[in-house]
Symmetry: C2
């Protein structure tokens, strides 16, 4: 079959890692008899440079016309300005937020999985890691502080900035259902994270999660305060199966959780709406400091492509093949710099490779 | 001299740990010729049980009349209700928030220090820990989402909850100054944490921090996004000296940082205003699961009392004596359960003790 994939290479390391994911998709196509056609979509700093805005209506239309979108990363300086000097709605990131909203991508899945082979790259002690982790963060992606009204203005002669955190019960219900649905396919445990001892939005969150939980009697669920969760992720990450949380808390906790997997370069993600459509992107940023050096880890993007095969195209066998190839390449001892073992004496037992080589090695194993 | 200390024992493990800190203060008094008189102040669940509200006006007046306040912890169920069934302004935590605001305690200092002796209790690998950490979190405590307007109401038939995140430039300036002041007495590095790629309040934060930084040419400062900071605290915590951040981010990051010190039971805190007055409390919660068992770690509260001696009473020598006694007791191999080594084979080399015994052992070393 033919699949039409929108491709947002984006900024920084984006183009480098996306190229490797496309190579892997093509290898899958060759092996399993599919074709993937690609439509390049401009977004972020590169769109600002080309069009003056981070996301044009045309780009949104292109994304909507695709079967799914594969993305690299967005952010950093443009050709003409450092990002922080741009008006907020004209910043690279504004394009991403606008696209998430325009496509109603409310469910952001971030699987944090520690590959056996990467234990040595994980900053946590062996006795904390044990047999590793395999957890899923289900982050609400189109509500909360990210999309509330905001303004900065002078009030009685003093500059005052306001952001608004809003959630409706419907927004909470649909993400909670997704969280419980995915838990049913996993170890059947949901940890819903909020700050209900302070926030009204968290109290509503907790109430709706409790209602939704009634429809999933087989799932064990608990509430956890966000400060405690940030602590537990380091203290005992194995306790988690699915973490269900709102937009800002999910942003913070998923970056933290990436560390238990060894590197943010391993963290894939899928942003889904109510259809089969999805946007697939690594959880990490554009990493301008290493852009163009050919050393970025393409695995998060390649695993995001695998999620695309699975969630948007129902190609489970093909997704399995990508994941198995990644596992094999790690087993065979290949590492990008971010997942090299931490301890000096263990470095000799693996081979450090660059972005392209890692992509090639994965393709060879498909 | 005589010092008049307001004492909020609070809920859960609060009374147990505060009793030990008072014992330590008395030992300091005996040795250095001071007297500490104590005034018991009701706040939290115990206040709800006694008066129907978490903090009475009388309690606020008592706190204001003290030279400083020593606190245990607040939170959990009351005699009549689980906390989440209480109206928000009638919850135990509401007392604490009201007191912080009434006393204008905008500057919350949370030192995260890894004692050499506790390396084995830290979940991070030895090569990440290295020679340990010594960092300070400067958290803004009377603004942001904690104190903005909030409401839950039906909008077009759908329950909708709203919280507001507001900061004025004055609020940001005064906490930023505190952060840079404290950096001047330390390793002269400030990491200001925000989410300026999304929030207006964070953009104002960044702007004001940059203005304040101009007055401290000797301090190196950087901005870091909160998601990245949550990751860096696990990846390379040694990079930090002072983390300067707003209320909610500070809540999350300080709990996370407690893990690099081995246990939240080690994390003291001082909440200060523009005078010598301060509220001193452990950063951890009321831990209802272990309350009454005599196993809670009193060290965070004892170190908070040391901060009181230093910041409110200018008794540096006395504060040093408390800190030295804590160090010595750890060196002598005494541990509460939360700071026992993680690895089985290392447990035999230390002695596990309870709350009271730990307090006694520290007093003996003063
Ligand atoms: C780039 C930024 C706006 C984005 C976010 O905060 O959502 C990123 O950090 C992410 O986690 O996808
Ligand atoms: C009890 C709670 C309201 C409080 C907070 O969130 O500030 C606590 O977590 C803390 O960090 O002091």
């Amino acid at each position: 079959m033919n699949y039409h994939v929108g491709v947002i290479s984006g900024d920084g390391i984006g183009p480098e890692v996306v190229a490797e994911a496309q190579k892997v998709l093509d290898a899958i196509g060759a092996k399993f008899g599919h074709t993937f056609t690609y439509d390049a979509i401009l977004m972020g700093g590169c769109s600002i440079d080309a069009t003056g805005v981070p996301l044009t209506d045309e780009a949104i239309a292109q994304a909507k016309a695709s079967d799914a979108v594969l993305m690299g990363s967005i952010g950093g300086n443009t050709a003409t300005s450092p990002w922080y000097k741009l008006a907020p709605h004209l910043r690279p990131e504004a394009g991403l937020l606008k696209l998430r909203k325009a496509l109603n991508l409310f469910a952001n899945l971030r699987p944090a999985y520690l590959y056996e082979e990467l234990k040595e790259a994980c900053p946590l002690r062996d006795d904390i890691i044990g047999d590793g982790f395999d957890m899923m963060i289900m982050r609400e992606l189109t509500g909360g502080l990210y999309f509330g009204a905001r303004k900065t203005e002078e009030v009685n002669g003093v500059m005052t900035a306001v952001d608004t955190l809003t959630y409706t019960e419907d927004e909470i219900r649909r993400i909670a259902k997704r969280g419980f649905d995915i838990a049913m396919k996993r170890r059947k445990k949901v940890t819903s994270v909020d700050k209900a001892n302070v926030l009204d939005s968290s109290r509503l969150w907790r109430k709706v999660v409790e209602e939704v939980a009634k429809d999933y009697p087989k799932v064990t669920y608990e509430h956890m305060l966000v400060d405690n969760c940030a602590m537990q992720l380091v203290k005992d990450p194995k306790q988690f199966d699915v973490i269900l949380t709102e937009n800002m808390f999910g942003d913070i906790l998923s970056d933290e959780a990436s560390m238990v997997t060894g590197s943010i370069g391993m963290l894939s993600s899928a942003s889904l709406n109510d259809t089969k459509f999805g946007l697939y992107e690594p959880s990490g940023g554009s990493a301008p400091d290493i852009a163009g050096k050919g050393i970025a880890n393409p695995i998060a993007t390649i695993l995001s492509a695998a999620m695309m095969l699975r969630y948007s195209f129902d190609l489970d066998k093909e997704a399995d093949a990508v994941e198995a190839a990644v596992k094999q390449v790690l087993k065979d001892g290949y590492r990008t710099i971010d997942i090299m073992p931490q301890e000096e004496d263990k470095k000799a037992s693996v081979t450090q490779v660059g972005t392209k080589q890692m992509g090639d090695l994965i393709c060879e194993r498909i």
